[in-house]
């Protein structure tokens, strides 16, 4: 029946997509935090 191959193909796709999405979300969160910290630092300097 080769069901193992069917399962493996779909598992590979979903694991790949999910790892990428979570990685991207983490990258985005870190960048947002860094940009916000920089903005606050610069605002303090401006005052």
């Amino acid at each position: 029946m080769n069901l193992g191959f069917l399962f493996a193909a779909y598992a590979v796709v979903w694991i790949g997509v999910l790892v990428y999405v979570f990685g991207l979300a983490r990258r985005s969160r870190n960048l947002e935090r860094e940009v916000e910290e920089l903005r606050q630092l610069l605002s303090r300097r401006q005052q």
């Binding site: 191959f5 193909a9 796709v13 920089l38 903005r39 610069l42 605002s43 401006q46």
Partner: protein, 255 residues
């Protein structure tokens, strides 16, 4: 604040609705629609579509395998357009589009190669063969992996952007060759959508419907990922701009 870059990025700590660095309603709607369509695609693949009489259940890999290639080719076509525009206009937006598309295209290309290989093992009896289309697709993967690597290996971001834009533009030739490979050279890769005799390899209409749902849903997934990746790229650019502006400032050492 004398530096215009710093002034621009410190003006408003609260999110502007039009700010490309923030998520919005359209993005959420796109995400939800994509999720629903992907679920519908999985229902079609595992419940709706009939089992292929020749290959058996393993033929169902075909739907997700095919669905990986529309985003791959769209992404790399976008890289080529963005590369051309970047080389012509040198706008940072084009560079962001190019590197975002290349990254997502490489993801789908990797998954397309992997699913093809998993399908090939029970059907062809091998994980990999040097068929013209497969070989050209592997070359495509290498071109865009190099495209992304060039950015980290170049001396300056500008140099990396220019070199990778040249490479990204040349990748179009490989895209065209992949499309024509099954017609020009004798290989074992099947031409399913329009076979060599001019007909379709999908006899049952339910197979065609399932394929269309899969293609549309994964194309939407690509668009959604591209929107998210572009936002991240924009944030990266803002951060770089701020750091450079701070380095130019008198108190740069304190950052």
């Amino acid at each position: 604040m004398s530096d215009p870059v710093l002034a621009r990025h410190t003006e408003s700590p609260s999110p502007d609705p039009a700010d490309a660095t923030q998520g919005n309603t359209a993005e959420t709607v796109l995400g939800v629609t994509t999720g629903a369509l992907v679920l519908a695609a999985m229902y079609a693949v595992f419940v709706y579509v009939p089992t292929d009489s020749f290959q058996g259940p393993v033929q169902r890999i075909f739907y997700i395998h095919m669905a990986m290639w529309l985003p791959t080719f769209s992404a790399f076509a976008l890289v080529a357009i963005a590369s051309l525009m970047y080389l012509w206009r040198r706008g940072p937006g084009w560079d962001r589009l190019g590197r975002s598309s290349a990254e997502i295209g490489l993801l789908f290309c990797t998954l397309g190669l992997a699913t093809g290989s998993i399908w090939a093992r029970p059907i062809w009896g091998t994980w990999w063969t040097w068929d013209p289309r497969l070989t050209l697709t592997l070359v495509l993967w290498m071109i865009y992996a190099t495209y992304l690597l060039l950015r980290t290996l170049s001396a300056t971001p500008e140099q990396g952007a220019v070199l990778s834009a040249i490479l990204g533009l040349s990748g179009v030739i490989d895209l065209y060759l992949i499309n024509r490979a099954v017609y020009w050279w004798r290989g074992i890769h099947p031409a399913v959508i329009a076979n060599r005799e001019g007909g379709s390899g999908l006899a049952d209409p339910r197979m065609q419907v399932t394929l269309v749902i899969c293609l549309v849903s994964f194309f939407l997934l690509f668009v959604w990922l591209l929107v998210l990746r572009m936002r991240t790229a924009r944030l990266q650019d803002i951060l770089e701009e701020c750091r450079e502006a701070l380095a130019r400032g008198p108190r740069a050492a304190r950052v």
